[in-house]
């Protein structure tokens, strides 16, 4: 039964159909054989009855007279007829049970007891072909003028009827086997054809490329049957899944550009601020070009301002090239982050606790995704902390792992934001995808995210590696 359960539907159903046909065939064959047996029994009984009645008429007076010769002569002549071929032996006894004559006197001698021969003999109404062997034995009273004057024992050869029955059985078995075989094969082919869309659906759903594939239009059944609707619904579903993934991808892109936009404005501000001092220095150089000490001081000022501008632009360029960054993470990346977030902090007049403790390079961590994770969380913390708020970053290395904790003293994360960050729940409309991007990137790097809120401070801890030393938020 378990083996049957493991079989594919396209094999199981035809097999079940064939099994039912075998059952039906067996029952029908049984009925046919029973009917045949009934006909044969009736035929043999009728024949035996005619034989006995004919003998009773012919032999009655002879048995009464104990005319042995005439009894024998009558039996002998009767056995020469067509009926004699079936009646292979007939013996007639008088009313005392002594044999008067038999068609085979050598086997049944005169004056022997008929009871010896009648052992195992059946009465006329109990005569049945196929009960024992090819020879039936019948015991019947010899009635003459209304009284029993003797007994008749007859042996009937029914081997031809048995052969007929065996032949019928063989034909039935053969016919049934052929019919069942043909119908089972036809049923298998038909059901397989009918179930082909289901097989296709199962195959498309279990393809190993990581995402479901639609069923080609040519393989969708014609018409508006259940399977056609199922295939179309599946294709629509696959389309929806693809569209959703595309939308999420576009949202993530947009989120990155949003972050970049915010950074750009801060960057413009960051560049604009020293520009006044730099222009002043240039004017000073032009005005006091004859005073070397003033020129030198102004040149130093220009140099410092331009170096700062160079650092800021480099950090921005690095951040923008994040997708292509596959180099390992280093302490310099955190310095870049600090540089990138600084303008936003200045704009919001926010304070920051910055602690980076990376004595060695954490193995196997790419710089790009980690920078994106940290930047998104810092921007999120900055937005949550509000004006004159306080945020913090604590990156520490424990063993082979890395833990980055971002904190803010804002009002705490709303549940929708937490869902985006900590679960795979569907994105609710209206919310950004920055936090979900953090989650996807973290999980992609094999990391964990934990959330704590204590003493008015929200802490998001992102940990990578086997021993992060922080509570597993995924549990």
């Amino acid at each position: 039964m378990q083996a049957l359960g493991r079989l594919p539907l396209s094999l199981k159903l035809p097999l079940l159909g064939a099994a039912m046909m075998v059952l039906v065939g067996a029952v029908a064959s049984q009925q046919v054989l029973r009917a045949l047996a009934g006909v044969q029994d009736a035929r043999v009984q009728e024949l035996a009855q005619m034989h006995v009645e004919g003998l009773s008429v012919a032999l009655g007076p002879l048995v009464l007279r104990r005319d042995v010769w005439e009894v024998y002569d009558t039996l002998d002549r009767a056995s020469q007829g067509g009926e004699g071929r079936r009646m292979i032996l007939t013996a007639v006894a008088d009313d005392t049970g002594r044999v008067l004559a038999a068609t085979d006197p050598g086997r049944v001698p005169m004056d022997s007891a008929i009871a010896d021969l009648a052992q195992g003999a059946a009465a006329l109404e109990d005569l049945s072909v196929g009960g024992s062997g090819p020879v039936l034995r019948l015991l019947a009273p010899l009635i003459y003028q209304g009284r029993m004057v003797g007994e008749i024992v007859t042996e009937l050869d029914v081997s031809d009827l048995l052969i007929e029955r065996r032949r019928a059985l063989m034909l039935l078995i053969l016919g049934n086997a052929v019919a069942i075989g043909v119908l089972a094969m036809a049923g298998y082919a038909a059901l397989r054809q009918m179930l082909r869309p289901v097989s296709t659906l199962a195959r498309q759903m279990t393809r190993t490329e990581g995402k479901p594939y639609p069923i080609p239009a040519a393989e969708i059944p014609r018409g508006d049957g259940e399977l056609a609707r199922l295939a179309r619904t599946y294709n629509a579903m696959v389309g929806a899944v693809a569209a959703k993934a595309e939308a999420e991808k576009r949202l993530a892109e947009r989120e990155r550009f949003v972050a970049l936009g915010r950074l750009s404005s801060s960057l413009a501000h960051e560049i604009n601020n020293p520009l006044g001092g730099l222009l002043n220095a240039a004017d000073t150089i032009r005005t006091f070009s004859d005073r070397p000490e003033v020129v030198r001081q102004s040149a130093d000022l220009l140099d410092r301002g331009l170096r700062h501008l160079r650092d800021v632009t480099r950090a921005s360029l690095d951040q923008n090239r994040m997708d292509m960054e596959h180099r390992p993470l280093s302490a310099e990346d955190f310095a870049d982050l600090k540089l990138l977030i600084q303008p936003e902090l200045s704009r919001q007049a926010q304070g920051m606790d910055w602690s980076v403790d990376l004595p060695g390079v954490p193995p196997g961590l790419a710089a790009g995704p980690v920078r994106q994770i940290a930047l998104n969380l810092l921007l999120n913390a900055s937005a949550a902390a509000g004006r004159e708020g306080r945020i913090g970053l604590d990156a520490s290395q424990g063993g082979a792992g890395l833990a980055i904790a971002i904190s803010d003293n804002g009002a705490g994360m709303p549940q929708a934001a937490l869902d985006r960050l900590l679960t795979d729940a569907p994105l609710s409309p209206g919310g950004g995808v920055g936090l979900r991007l953090v989650r996807d990137l973290t999980l992609g790097l094999g990391g964990h995210i934990a959330h704590h809120r204590a003493g008015g401070v929200t802490r998001i801890i992102v940990s990578f590696g086997p021993e992060p030393g922080v509570q597993d938020a995924e549990g």
Binding site: V68, W69, Y72, D73, D76, A101, P105, G106, P109, M110, D111
Partner: protein
């Protein structure tokens, strides 16, 4: 050609007219010969009818007793009897003629058993079943019964069971088929069967032959032996070998012909009758 046809027609009409004028001669037949062969009976009637110049009706019954009774009560004019019933009614019956077989008017009674039976004589058959032909048959009963009587036995007790088949051929069949162990049969019938049904007699074996006894004779009532129809029958019988039909009938019967008979011919049977009644 035409004249000849006319002559033949006139002769036939004359014969027929004469035959119609005479009363039908009725002759009884006992199963002393192969009475089951219709051709034999027809041939005999044809030959006698031609010889006597009158219509013959052959009357057959199952037993000797019935035919003897018909003769005694005048229901038949003559009958082919056996020597035994003739002697039983010798006071009322007279001899007309007797067949000649193998050169003389005598035959034998055979004691037969199945071909594979080890018996060599009558004493070996004690306790077995036996088939007689007819209680009024010399060869089919009297010979064996008188032999037993001479030996101090009786057929009813010597054999476990004795049946009558009312026909010599039936005796041969009963023995050949194994219905009975032994049988008493007319030697003439057995020899005739050996010619025409050798497969039947081959299944039997003759273990004893009696002395030569008077062949079954053709008899009439003693008071009519001198009457015209009986004399005509006698002439027809004695002259049977002179006509083609007669010779054909004799050949079918497998006998030589008929000859006059005397009571002395049946002395052997008379002796046996006395021994049986003793």
């Amino acid at each position: 050609m035409k004249r000849r046809a006319l002559l033949a027609g006139a002769l036939a009409a004359g014969l027929a007219g004469r035959a119609r004028a005479e009363p039908v001669f009725r002759m009884g037949l006992t199963p002393v010969f192969l009475d089951n062969d219709a051709a034999v009976v027809d041939g005999l009637r044809e030959a006698l009818s031609r010889g006597m110049g009158r219509q013959i009706e052959l009357v057959q019954r199952r037993t000797y007793q019935e035919i003897t009774g018909l003769l005694l009560e005048r229901s038949v004019d003559a009958a082919w009897l056996c020597g035994y019933p003739y002697l039983q009614h010798a006071d009322a019956l007279g001899l007309v003629a007797v067949p000649s077989w193998r050169g003389g008017p005598r035959y034998q009674s055979y004691l037969i058993v199945a071909a594979d039976d080890p018996a060599t004589g009558l004493p070996d058959l004690r306790g077995g079943t036996h088939a007689f032909s007819d209680p009024d048959s010399n060869s089919g009963y009297l010979v064996t019964a008188s032999d037993l009587r001479r030996a101090g036995e009786r057929a009813e007790t010597f054999f476990s069971r004795a049946i009558f088949t009312y026909g010599h051929r039936n005796v041969v069949r009963a023995v050949a088929d194994g219905l009975v162990r032994s049988g008493s049969v007319d030697g003439y019938v057995w020899e005739s069967l050996a010619t025409i049904e050798p497969a039947l007699t081959a299944r039997t074996r003759v273990i004893a032959r009696s002395e030569w006894l008077g062949f079954p004779p053709i008899c009439a009532r003693r008071d009519s032996t001198g009457s015209e129809p009986v004399l005509a029958l006698r002439r027809a019988l004695l002259g049977m070998g002179d006509t083609p039909e007669g010779r054909q009938a004799l050949a079918a019967l497998q006998i030589d012909g008929f000859q006059p008979a005397s009571d002395a011919l049946f002395d052997g049977i008379a002796t046996r009758m006395r021994d049986l009644e003793a």
